[in-house]
Every structure is written in structure tokens, then in C-alpha cells.
């Protein structure tokens, strides 16, 4: 049984030494090798990217309030949607859950002291910074108007800053690759003794599957973007029809990365949701191995479906048919996950707190996002729906409804662990409600608009679509307010929220056995390895207002402050 006084000492609010206060000064952050600090820096970075790209989104929606010009010229509109897409995809969604949340959580979940290559980890953060700076440089000097897909030959001909932006995306790609390598190796070599592959939390499985994609797909994006830069500067004639190149080839190259990249965006989100549902239902996850394998299955199948972005692009019928067939197979593992989550809730003990509400909102939104994917996988209907607002709505349901919701859910779940302070539950619920409502009001009308024939990337549109666009704009504003309230709640909590102890939610994964915030070495006391979903091991301690592992033992030696390592 837990020993309250010892638990208090090492696990309670009063934990003296943690990764936040172990050293001071900006250098101790800028040159840190601690995965937790790098995770926090990533978090700050991707939030900045989200807000920047979010502002572009709101400007776009505002412009689309009327069919004709309001305040953006056509050229400005094109730059806005391009920057919105490029920054959101490359600088926010891809690094958001893996690099920010994953960096913090993954080593601790494995019971490790750090990721396998801390220097590489820091380097990948700085590559992210450099890449994002290049995107921003492109934005403020010459802007960018190719769409985030950089389709040739337009990207070769436009006068905007394609080279700076593609170079930025190239560097961001390497940031992503290095994170992937790090996570793969960490999962392989640094699991706690006794933790087999099938005792890993499902979030780790999600991140592992993601890392596979990052490692296998992102290099192809790298070479594609280099070839695009060479094409633009030297006209090497591989993608440019003017010199005998093939623009469809570029699309193949691009989507060979970018479709798997979609799963880089969603798989970690699914991992987060698996954790949340289980913890807040206080029940062992249903069908563990099916969820784990479905992550890997999605990762592998994700490589075989890229052509479904090109059904109308001049791709051949035969290849189109193959890609359509394989695309449907991705639906199965996705559906399996959803069914397993529902079964986990069955007969559970469900705490309807903010993270759980986000998880339920995820199931709702991802359900719509996933099911509308069927319309796009079906060849006949995709001919009609391709490149319309239907597609826009579909991928926003997956990426925003999925990834952003999961990111928020994960942040609210792990925030007390990251900063040792609790957020305001009411504000959390309001965030969830606003994001949910705002999101649906924004994107649901776009399905109808799309099937009625509204093409995407249009600065001006026919009057018949006006009502839909107006609803969409109003929804976007609500969504924007929701996101801002969410981050305000979290930031306030990090500095001023009431302190909390090690494990306020009673989760059983290993990171909850550390103090909150964790100490520099993650764990000061001996970690009891138990199944990540065996909640009976967690005993509520009233004095601490936290759960404590029933075999909690104090460290053999009292924790002494250590000097953190830096480069």
C-alpha cells in the first residue's frame, strides 16, 4: 500500500526539483537536451504556427462572406490560402502531436530517461524553427501563391517565393525525419525492462506507426522539393512540360509523401484518443492488439493509396482503379478503432471531463471525416466531388476535427503532468463546446456546397453559394474564439492554476508515476511497471488528491538536484 508521507514527499505538489526549475536562464532552454523542455518549446512553436495560419484562415473566410471582392484581391486571396495550407500542414499539424506532445510523453511512457538521441531531438527542433522561418520569409518577402501542393508547372512560373517556401518545407521535412528516427529507435531500444511490445500504451503505437511513415515517406518529399527547386532555377525538364517534363509525375512524387503525411497527421491523434477513452472510462482498452495493429496497418496501407488524389488528374484508368480499391481498405482499420473505442466506453466509469469530451468530439468529427472519405474513394462520385468544397470539408473534418481536437484533448490531459497545475474545468468545457460547434458550422455547409459544384480555391464565387459561405464564415469565427479560449485557459493554468499532484486522473501509464511536473530525470523513485490499462493498480490518496501506485516505494536515496546536460 502507498505510504502517504513518502508519497507526499516525492509525488505530491511539493516536489522540489523538476525539469522546469532545475536550471534557469534562456540558455538552459535554448541548448537543453531534455526531451521535456524540447517538447514544451515545440509546443510554443506549433501554437505560434497554428495561430498564424489560423489568422489567415479567418481572413479567407471573411473575404468569402460575399461573392465579390470585399478586401482581398484575387492574388492576395491565393496567397492567403496557400500560406494557410502550407504553414498549417508543414509547420503545425505534422509536428503538433508527435513532436510537441509525443516528445514530452513518449520517453516517460516507456519509462526512459530521454529519447535515444537527445542532440538529434534538439536539432530537429531547430530545423523546425529554420524551416518555419523560411516559410515566414517567403511570406513576407515575395509571398507564395501555388497552393500548399506546389503543383508544377504553375509553381515554376509564378513570380512568388517558391524557392524559399519549398526550401522551408524541405528543412521541415528533415525535422520530421529526425523526430521519426528518434522515436523509432527509442521505442525499439529504450522500453522499460519488462515492457514488451504489447504492453506499450497505444499512444506509443500511434507514434511508432507515425515514425515509420516519417522515415519512409518524408525523404521522397525532400527529393521532390529539391527537384522542384532545381526545376525552377535551372529548368532541368523533369516536371516542366515546356522542356519535355511531365507535370503528372510531380503529382505522383508529391502525393507519395503527402498522402502518408495525412496519416502522420491523424495516427498520433488516434493514439491520444485511445489513451483518453481508456483513462476516463477507467477501463482497460477494448481490443488492444486490434487498435495497435490497425495503426501499423494504416501506416503501411497509407503508402499504397496516394493516387486517389489524382483520379481526375490525367492518371491512367488502370492505376486509378487500383488506387481506389486499396483506398477502401484503409477504411477498415479506421472503423475498427472507432468500434473499439465505443466498446471501451461500454460499462465503463466515464468521467465527462474536458479531455473525455474532446475524445467524444473526436469520434463524432472523425466519424464524419472518415465516412465522407468513402465518397471520395468511390470513383464515380469522386469525379464530381474532386477539387470541390466537399474535399475541403472532408480533410478539415479529419485534420482539424481529428488532429486539432486530439491535440486539445491531449493537452488538457497531460497539462497537469507538464506543468503541475490544473486548468479551469469550466473553461475547458467551453473550449470543447465552441470548437465543436464552430467547427461543424464552418465545415458542414461546405459538404453541400461542394456537391453542388463549388470549386475550391476560388476567391470569387457564384451567388448561389453565398448562404453556405456565410454560415461557414460565422462558424470559423466561433472556432477561432474557441481555439483562443482554449490556449488562454491552458496558458493561464500553466502559470496560475492550482497545483496538483502526480496523477490526478488515475491513469496507469508510466508517465503518471512521476511527480508533476516531472523531475529532470523523469523518475526519482523506482517505477513500478504495470499494464498501461490496469487501473486497479492506482489507489486514490485523499491527502494528495491524486492517485498513487499501490506499490509506491520511495527512492533508495533522496533525490539530489542534478545539473542538466546541454550541448
Amino acid at each position: 500500500m502507498s505510504n502517504p508521507s513518502l508519497a507526499q514527499q516525492y509525488f505530491g505538489h511539493a516536489a522540489q526539483h523538476n525539469y522546469l526549475n532545475v536550471s534557469k536562464g534562456w540558455k538552459s532552454w535554448a541548448f537543453t537536451l531534455d526531451h521535456k523542455r524540447i517538447g514544451v518549446m515545440y509546443l510554443i512553436g506549433v501554437t505560434f504556427a497554428l495561430l498564424l495560419a489560423g489568422v489567415f484562415a479567418l481572413l479567407l473566410r471573411a473575404e468569402l462572406f460575399t461573392p465579390n471582392k470585399m478586401f482581398l484581391s484575387e492574388a492576395q486571396y491565393n496567397q492567403m490560402f496557400t500560406l494557410h495550407g502550407a504553414i498549417m500542414v508543414f509547420a503545425f499539424i505534422i509536428p503538433s502531436i508527435p513532436a510537441a506532445l509525443g516528445n514530452f510523453v513518449l520517453p516517460m511512457m516507456l519509462g526512459a530517461k530521454d529519447v535515444a538521441f537527445p542532440r538529434l531531438n534538439l536539432m530537429s527542433f531547430y530545423l523546425w524553427v529554420i524551416g518555419t522561418i523560411f516559410l515566414v520569409i517567403a511570406m513576407i518577402t515575395n509571398s507564395l501563391d501555388t497552393g500548399w501542393t506546389f503543383y508544377t508547372p504553375y509553381s515554376i512560373r509564378t513570380s512568388t517565393g517558391v524557392v524559399a517556401a519549398t526550401f522551408g518545407a524541405f528543412v521541415l521535412g528533415f525535422s520530421s525525419i529526425f523526430t521519426g528516427i528518434n522515436f523509432l529507435v527509442t521505442v525499439h531500444t529504450m522500453r522499460a525492462p519488462g515492457m514488451g511490445w504489447f504492453q506499450m500504451p497505444l499512444f506509443i503505437w500511434g507514434l511508432y506507426a507515425t515514425a515509420i511513415i516519417q522515415v519512409l515517406a518524408t525523404p521522397v518529399l525532400g527529393i521532390t522539393l529539391l527537384m522542384l527547386i532545381a526545376e525552377r532555377l535551372l529548368h532541368i525538364g523533369i516536371f516542366d512540360p515546356k522542356y519535355g517534363g511531365d507535370p503528372v509525375l510531380f503529382q505522383h512524387f508529391f502525393w507519395f509523401y503527402s498522402h502518408p503525411a495525412v496519416y502522420i497527421m491523424i495516427l498520433p491523434g488516434m493514439g491520444v484518443i485511445s489513451e483518453l477513452i481508456s483513462v476516463y472510462s477507467r477501463k482497460k482498452i477494448f481490443g488492444y492488439s486490434f487498435i495497435a495493429f490497425s495503426s501499423v496497418a494504416i501506416a503501411i496501407l497509407g503508402f499504397l493509396v496516394w493516387g486517389h488524389h489524382m483520379f481526375t488528374s490525367g492518371q491512367s484508368e488502370l492505376v486509378t482503379l487500383i488506387f481506389s480499391a486499396i483506398t477502401f481498405t484503409v477504411a477498415i482499420p479506421s472503423a475498427v478503432k472507432v468500434f473499439n473505442w465505443l466498446s471501451t466506453m461500454y460499462k465503463g466509469c466515464i468521467a465527462l471531463v474536458t479531455p473525455m469530451l474532446f475524445a467524444m468530439s473526436f469520434i463524432f468529427l472523425f466519424g464524419i471525416g472518415g465516412l465522407t472519405g468513402l465518397f471520395l474513394a468511390t470513383l464515380r462520385t469522386d469525379i464530381h466531388l474532386h477539387d470541390t468544397y466537399f474535399v475541403v470539408a472532408h480533410f478539415h473534418y479529419v485534420m482539424v476535427g481529428g488532429t486539432l481536437t486530439a491535440l486539445f484533448g491531449g493537452l488538457f490531459h497531460w497539462w497537469p503532468k507538464m506543468f503541475g497545475r490544473m486548468y479551469n474545468e469550466l473553461c475547458g468545457k467551453i473550449t470543447c463546446l465552441l470548437v465543436f460547434v464552430g467547427f461543424n458550422v464552418t465545415f458542414f455547409p461546405q459538404f453541400v456546397m461542394g456537391s453542388r459544384g463549388m470549386p475550391r480555391r476560388y476567391a470569387r464565387y457564384d451567388i448561389e453559394f453565398e448562404a453556405f459561405h456565410q454560415w461557414s464564415t460565422i462558424g470559423a469565427m466561433i472556432l477561432g474564439v474557441g481555439v483562443v479560449i482554449g490556449f488562454a485557459t491552458l496558458v493561464y493554468a500553466a502559470f496560475r492554476g492550482p497545483r496538483c499532484a502526480g496523477n490526478p486522473f488515475g491513469a496507469a501509464t508510466l508517465e503518471w508515476q512521476s511527480s508533476s511536473p516531472p523531475s529532470f530525470h523523469n523518475f526519482d523513485h523506482k517505477v513500478e511497471f504495470t499494464s498501461p490499462y490496469d487501473f486497479s493498480t492506482q489507489v486514490y490518496d485523499e491527502e494528495l488528491d491524486s492517485y498513487v501506485h499501490r506499490n509506491f516505494t520511495a527512492p533508495a536515496k533522496p533525490a539530489v538536484p542534478v545539473q542538466p546536460q546541454s550541448i
Binding site: K242, H252, V319
Partner: protein, 131 residues
């Protein structure tokens, strides 16, 4: 300490014998010479496959012995070979696709290429005269 796989205090250092390394090197040089010579033989369409076959043998030798893959952990081999698998997949789909629409590209007149009238033939006619 010159024999292969000396069992060592620490389990992970496996020095390979010098003889083996030299042997592999000479095999590689030999194969290089063979591939250059084979290139001049009238092999017709086979020549590409011969050249690729020899290159693959060379690659195998380098990977297996210089890169110690012969003694490597299974997981690392699987990872490395999976990269080849994905590359083949990538190329395979692209060949399949481009082959099917090749005709539409070929019948498209060169002088109709976008911007063709500006810079269509950067080539000057080449004179026959040797010098």
C-alpha cells in the same frame, strides 16, 4: 584477434577478418571490370539486366560484409530492405501509370508545348565536320 567474430568481453564488437575484407574488395574490382567489358559485348536488350545483376551482386557484397549485415540484427536488416521495397513500389506504380498515358504525351506535338515558340530548340545544328 585476427579471426572473424572474436568473442570479446563486450558482446557487440565483432571484428571481421582482414582476409575476408580484402577478398571482398578484389571480388568487387573484378566485377567492376567484368561489367565494363560486358558492356561492349553484343548482348542486346539483356545488357541492362546483366549490368544491374552485376551491380546487385556488388551491392550484396558491400552490404553483407563491409556493412556487416551478415551479422546484423534482424530488425535493422528488415528496416533497410524495406526502403528498397518502398522504392520499388514507388517506381512500379509510376511506370504502370506513365506507361498507360504515354501515348497522349507522344502524339502531342512538340511545338505545341506551352511556351514552345519561345524556347523550343536550344540546340544549334551540329556540324558533321570532325576536328
Amino acid at each position: 584477434m585476427t579471426t572473424a567474430h572474436d568473442s570479446h568481453d563486450h558482446g557487440f564488437a565483432h571484428p571481421v577478418s582482414k582476409k575476408l575484407l580484402y577478398g571482398v574488395f578484389f571480388a568487387l574490382v573484378l566485377l567492376t571490370i567484368i561489367t565494363v567489358v560486358a558492356n561492349d559485348l553484343p548482348l542486346g536488350k539483356l545488357d541492362l539486366w546483366v549490368a544491374m545483376g552485376i551491380a546487385s551482386i556488388k551491392a550484396f557484397l558491400v552490404m553483407a560484409f563491409f556493412m556487416h549485415m551478415w551479422w546484423e540484427k534482424g530488425i535493422n536488416i528488415v528496416f533497410f530492405l524495406s526502403s528498397v521495397l518502398f522504392a520499388v513500389l514507388f517506381v512500379g506504380f509510376l511506370l504502370l501509370d506513365t506507361d498507360s498515358y504515354k501515348e497522349d504525351v507522344e502524339i502531342f506535338p512538340v511545338d505545341l508545348r506551352p511556351g514552345a515558340t519561345e524556347v523550343i530548340s536550344p540546340l544549334k545544328p551540329v556540324s558533321e565536320t570532325p576536328h
